[in-house]
């Protein structure tokens, strides 16, 4: 496996992130990349069970960064991308709040799109985060979506 690039930034934290700052960090002083793709995941107001008021994200601290680094390294092994930034929040969030940022820069837009979506799909099935919703009908652990599992596996058939 290729070594993790110094241009990777991975952060797991309670504090919010600024999408604009993350985007600027992908572009600043970067004259060789023509493409920047970014994804932000937000807390929706309605999910599996009920009207959601807040969402609490638990994680397995010792494993979280390790698994995210492995996912980013795997993306780099597949596509020639330049800069990668990944921020995932934990703790209690309100509806509309940002949960996760994935940003990728590359010379070629298709590689940036692929790497960004790959990282999200793998994160959804391999990174140790769990969501608990607090809403109208009480507290519920979010159940894993079988489609997420299928989507993550499709990358290994390509």
């Amino acid at each position: 496996m290729r070594a993790r690039q110094p241009s990777d930034y991975i952060s797991v934290r309670q504090a919010n992130f600024c999408q604009a700052e993350e985007y600027l960090a992908l572009c600043a002083g970067n004259r060789q990349d023509g493409a920047v793709v970014s994804f932000v995941g937000l807390v929706r107001d309605f999910n599996q069970h009920n009207q959601v008021q807040t969402l609490t994200l638990e994680h397995y601290p010792a494993m979280t960064e390790k698994s995210l680094k492995a996912i980013v390294t795997e993306a780099r092994d597949r596509w020639p991308v330049s800069r990668v930034r990944l921020v995932h929040r934990v703790g209690t969030l309100n509806t509309g709040e940002q949960i996760v940022f994935v940003g990728v820069s590359s010379c070629h837009r298709h590689h940036a799109f692929l790497a960004c979506e790959f990282i999200m799909d793998q994160l959804k099935t391999r990174a140790p985060f769990w969501k608990k919703e607090q809403g109208d009908t009480g507290e519920h652990w979010v159940q894993a979506n079988p489609q997420d599992q299928q989507k993550a596996q499709q990358w290994h058939r390509q």
Partner: protein, 81 residues
């Protein structure tokens, strides 16, 4: 010695977040069956279909070997992102 951690819904279902075991186990499958045999009420929750396993913070399957000093974790399918 093996440390066993439980997370999220599984932690709530079992009522434990951590166990320390002094026995030796051949692999994750053996550890899983030991825990299910010791605690009949855990069987449904710990079944391989309902819980993932990690050894030293890497996802593994039930054939992954165990060694003294390993940190094992069981948890439900992940739901981040």
């Amino acid at each position: 010695m093996i440390t066993v951690l439980f997370f999220a819904q599984l932690r709530e279902q079992l009522g434990h977040d951590k166990l320390t075991l002094h026995s030796a186990f051949y692999d994750i499958g053996a550890l899983r069956h030991y825990l299910m045999a010791q605690h009949k009420e855990w069987q449904a929750y710990l079944a391989p279909d309902n819980s993932l396993a990690a050894v030293n913070q890497c996802l593994v399957n039930d054939h992954h070997p165990l060694h003294s000093g390993d940190e094992v974790a069981f948890f439900p399918p992940v739901t981040g992102g």
